[in-house]
Symmetry: C2
Subunit: 724 residues, 2 copies
């Protein structure tokens, strides 16, 4: 497109409205934006939504928030010690991320192999926060006792992982006294300089400030000068050590400004959460707790609840003074990896966003590589981290549309990936939810039904998750609860669904997403496992719904039935916004469905069957389902009308319930199983094709001529009957 | 995306429904389509709509139509002699193209510099048909007396222009007798071989068949053998010389099949349209008119209407016999560049498509380079050929979305381009429509109003076109007729508009487009020229419509005012279809608007002002408008509600009509014009900025603080007043 400019088009005065005021800016008539980063990475296919925001770097985000007088908060976490601790921390990221922190930061644990690929390392936790939780993140990095090569290696790795911000620290000496290194780094300033010299302006850099002076500093004044050196070396903002009095910080702030430090300075806030943790922290940081605080705490030191309550109160009071000063653009919280106290302080301050506006229906990743991404297949809606993991090697990401021709190469289901697959619940808890002992397929139907209804199962336990759903039902899915319960009871084992939506405001609290003033739409979607018998009836029923309903039906071997005319994706979620192109963030993509199918079937075995002993009836039942059920997805294209998908299933049940003379003898009972008993041992080979299908597709059965042909079925009672 | 395939995904049996029957086909699990061409040119961003159809080549289209028993027609034209003849022929392509020909063909006139860039050459006419009219076209090519290099040059040029089909002919000898050439081509067979050897399978090749034998052939049998040789050399289908009896063709067809010619053979149909043209044609083609026809014609040879009527009757009868034979897949018409007879024959045969389904709201181009194109700026809606011309050098075309970052480099407004700009009407006719003499801006308002209302103007003439609209109002625009009339009368000179549409069926006869079963949407759009005084009031009014209405307002110098937050395009037409991603074929793109602005303003001068003498008052009035008016576009983003754009204009008029004390003194009257008289001579320098704007933008006026500042205006009567 870069032909010479047409005559008569030189410079154009553009008047743009920014935050309610009018500004005039000069711009090239080509319309390229002023942002160098943005235009450099642009292409005709780049995302139309929030592009400018996504390309923002942290310091720019801060600048904009300061300009609009909109105070922010940030959250500090430390890396976990165990893999299950990592799973829990990542869940906490998701929950606390929903409150709207401007960023989080992850401390650097030199003793914990912080730059490694271990799932507990500082590097990997920060990477997970960015890539999988979509959080702007700052990775701490200490330089003491490190060679320049090692540090450069860490930074290179961080950049490759999509990390964009570094908190540059000296770190503690290995011994008791600090010794200057000739080749290495002596001060955080050296690290800041190194980052700038090796990585230019790529990273946003944070440095630490000490409101009462660094414990090792000669004097408060000298320490301020060190801070100024760090900023002069290229630091973009400052986070302070914790303190207990607002005045401490405000004086420090004035002193910093007085010597010419102009970057943002964020107070480090530590809500007291317990007597012991306070003592330990004070000892490590060599801080003194003010008398007035000790006087309150000492008398209640054995009452944890009272101390926490006081800690929240004290932090809220202090933060109010800080914010009221008008000199504090944001608050930084030392969370100690805990949620309650910090969240409560933020709620009381009015900084916690109860209903953060979603830019898209799914959580976006903060990796700059993915910033244009705005389309995903719907299949991973309940497993977004799995989707991100399996697509992490992609060089570019679909935006604007999914497209229909490229083969999306999804990463394999490997060991590391299983970390993200892993349930947060223990094996014991899972058995209680999903059944200590399964006696038939009906036992499985009941698990799904309990999950949908949020009622306790036979054993008195609530089913809080399923292998395909780590969390409780989404608010939106709850709209479909009654219908979902009914069909799960009868062996339509739903794992994903959405209702149709015909133009709700983008601000709708449940269905809304995207910028204000828009309208969002959805096609009704339903995805479930069900038996081959049900599928046979379903296929017959679906003929009545041509071309309104699109379907894809596949079993574990990949036998695939569809009425889609070609391999094109079907957009099932889209939004129309003022001054934007259409955004269509969710599609049913037939090609991706085949990759999802592998994952969806594997979860039966990896997450559920393996809870039971080898060869146990429980395991065999799950394995039977894995080997013989089909994964079905249905889309009702007629989004302005009430969804017909429940009627489709009603029709299917009606056909199955009809007396034999009506059904004909084509009911696809797994008669080849022979003896009418539960899951015979012969099922163990793992590659058993759906009975009656031979090695072909199900297609010849009842599809060609509108009649259910008596292929193999003879109306015999099914050994594994549906529950009713 | 081309990582190794994940495990467990090998071959998938796909069951796809094709034309009501079920077929099982093997497909790679990647989901790549079977079409080599399609997958080769695919990318993630390729168009989701009708891609397979667009990538079809002519012979494939024929094959599919034959398979589904769907007979087609095609139309033959010869190149015009004059430039105005070319303009007329292109209009005829548009009109006859709407009836749904499978293809048209353009004869090769060796004496008329057929391969040149002249607008009347065979090459350029065929190129125009493909690129601008969206018609599948076959270019004739004769090889007699041509060197291989010349022929290769023609073919290379044809390919570069997007032509895909060649009718390979020998052509007539230069002298009376044919002499074999050693280096050149002696027979059409040589040309077919040459095309295949030099261009492989790129072109679809047609050859001529002679139902009564070629006049120069030794015998009918020998001529059949020559035809077989042409087909064996690589011809894809045959069109026959005209004939007068169905039996003649059907015998020829049987004889061809008998000797092993299997390609489609299309009968050449010649509706008799006059006595002289019949005699001339018969003489040239050395054919004999059957007795039974001459017996009818001779008695009425001086009655043109009677002969035409008979010709239609005779052609219809013959075609019915041909189609009823079941052996004729399509009919080829020798139109002699006339419309009526052929159209009437096709109507009577039921082959003329009265309401061809539009794949997109605008006519697509048939150039293979543009086959993925499915998004265009709305500005060129009434000048699609101009848009195609100005984007002909693009390497790739936007599909799926317009995107916001690339600079779309539009071709310059040059001489050749003016060919496409040129009105079909004579200067005299234009003066009658647009005014022999303009006395004020009001005269111009009246021209626009007459165009909208289709009522005669003061001089008693209908205004059938405007510089920005070659044709009468679109059906859709007619829906807005009353509102348009009202605002044009008051100097809001509309040149483009569309109503809002909230989910009409894609089959809607007026608003519908795209595949069946879908829904189409539009945001209301209005584009007009208006005075700076009106713009000042409009900008004040528009504040009440934030953020519902997006606007772009620009004058000829490029001073641009907008409330768009960035340079992103706004989708104003989109469709939701079963099993597809969203299609959004029309956008308001701020960057393209600046290019369109140049064209829109230039039309005032090039098409209108230049009708009048230099320095004449009429010309000065148009020039004043060109120099001082603004081009405005408005989008109402709230498509589910009734359009508010008329209310916006009502509010603007109300503000303008209010007594001075309410308007304030900010009415931006062009007081600098000074003497209150019409268009003073000082306007002649062509670079006069809108008065009161100085060299900056209009922005400071009434924008910054919500009040209309008294910048220069003093409420003095405007020298060029609005009509009311």
């Amino acid at each position: 497109y870069m032909l010479p400019k047409p005559q008569g088009l030189t410079m154009v005065n553009q008047v743009q409205r920014v935050d309610g005021s009018w500004q005039t800016s000069k711009s090239d008539s080509s319309g390229a934006s002023n942002s160098g980063e943005s235009s450099k990475e642009s292409s005709r296919c780049s995302t139309p939504l929030l592009d400018a925001d996504r390309s923002d770097r942290l310091r720019e985000k801060m600048r904009k928030r300061m300009e609009s007088g909109d105070p922010w908060f940030s959250l500090e976490f430390f890396p976990p010690r165990t893999a299950s601790g990592a799973v829990n921390l990542i869940s906490r990221f998701d929950r606390m991320g929903s409150g709207g922190p401007l960023f989080i930061d992850i401390t650097w644990h030199p003793a914990g192999d912080p730059g490694s690929n271990k799932e507990t390392s500082s590097m990997m936790i920060a990477s997970t926060a960015v890539n999988y939780c979509g959080l702007e993140s700052v990775l701490h990095l200490t330089c003491s006792n490190q060679s320049q090569e090692t540090i450069t290696g860490y930074l290179t790795k961080a950049k490759q992982l999509g990390l964009k911000n570094i908190m540059a620290l000296r770190g503690d000496p290995l011994g008791t006294d600090w010794e200057d290194e000739e080749e290495g780094f002596n001060y955080a300033t050296d690290l800041v300089k190194h980052i700038r010299s090796e990585f230019d302006d790529y990273f946003d850099i944070c440095v630490a400030g000490y409101p009462t002076g660094h414990p090792e500093a000669q004097s408060y004044a000298e320490d301020l000068q060190h801070l100024k050196e760090k900023v002069d070396a290229g630091a973009d903002f400052i986070i302070t050590q914790l303190f207990f009095r607002a005045d401490t910080f405000l004086k420090f702030l004035r002193d910093c400004r007085a010597i010419g430090i102009t970057v943002p300075i964020l107070p480090g806030v530590f809500p007291i959460q317990g007597y012991q943790s306070l003592r330990q922290l004070v000892k490590l940081s060599k801080l003194e707790v003010p008398e007035e605080i000790m006087e309150v705490i000492e008398p209640i030191k054995d009452n944890d609840a009272a101390i926490r309550s006081y800690g929240i109160h004290q932090a809220v009071e202090m933060c109010r003074v800080l914010l009221d000063s008008g000199a504090v653009p944001g608050l930084h919280f030392y969370t100690l990896n805990r949620e309650v106290a910090t969240t409560e302080v933020l709620r009381q301050l009015g900084l916690w966003i109860e209903d953060p506006r979603r830019p898209l229906p799914w959580a976006t990743s903060a990796n700059p590589k993915r910033k244009v991404e705005d389309v995903r297949p719907i299949f991973w809606a309940s497993r977004p981290k799995s989707y991100i993991y399996r697509t992490q090697d992609w060089d570019d990401f679909p935006n604007g549309r999914w497209g229909n021709s490229s083969s999306p190469a999804f990463g394999e289901l490997n060991d590391y990936y299983l970390f993200y697959l892993k349930s947060k619940s223990s094996k014991d808890a899972l058995l209680k939810m999903w059944g200590e002992e399964l006696t038939s397929e009906t036992s499985v139907f009941e698990v799904f039904t309990s999950y949908i209804t949020a009622q306790v199962n036979r054993g008195g336990h609530k089913v809080m998750c399923l292998p395909w759903n780590d969390d409780a039902l989404a608010t939106e899915t709850n709209l479909l609860k009654d219908e979902l319960e009914k069909v799960n009871r009868r062996g339509v084992l739903t794992i994903n669904s959405q209702p149709n939506i015909n133009g709700k405001p983008s601000s709708d609290p449940i269905a809304g997403w995207g910028p204000a003033g828009g309208y969002v739409f959805q096609k009704a979607y339903l995805e479930f496992f069900t038996s081959s018998e049900n599928v046979t009836a379903l296929l017959k029923v679906l003929k009545k719904y041509e071309p309104r309903v699109n379907y894809h039906i596949v079993n574990v071997q990949g036998h695939n039935m569809t009425n889609a005319q070609d391999m094109q994706p079907n957009a099932v979620t889209w939004g129309i916004f003022p001054g934007r192109e259409i955004v269509q963030p969710t599609v049913v993509d037939p090609v991706s469905f085949m990759y999802w199918k592998d994952e969806a079937f594997a979860l039966w075995i990896e997450q559920w069957a393996k809870l039971y002993e080898d060869e146990s009836p429980s395991r065999m039942i799950i394995k039977y389902i894995h080997d013989n059920y089909f994964l079905v997805n249905l889309v009702d294209n007629d989004f302005p009308l009430d969804s017909c998908l429940w009627q489709v299933l009603d029709d299917m049940f009606e056909l199955l319930d009809a007396p034999p003379e009506v059904v004909g003898d084509g009911a696809l009972a797994p008669v080849a199983l022979g003896d009418g008993a539960l899951a015979p041992v012969g099922l163990g080979d793992g590659a058993l094709a759906p009975v009656a299908l031979g090695d072909g597709a199900l297609a010849p059965v009842g599809l060609g001529d509108g009649a259910l042909e008596p292929v193999v079925g003879d109306g015999a009672p099914q050994p594994l009957s549906a529950s009713q």
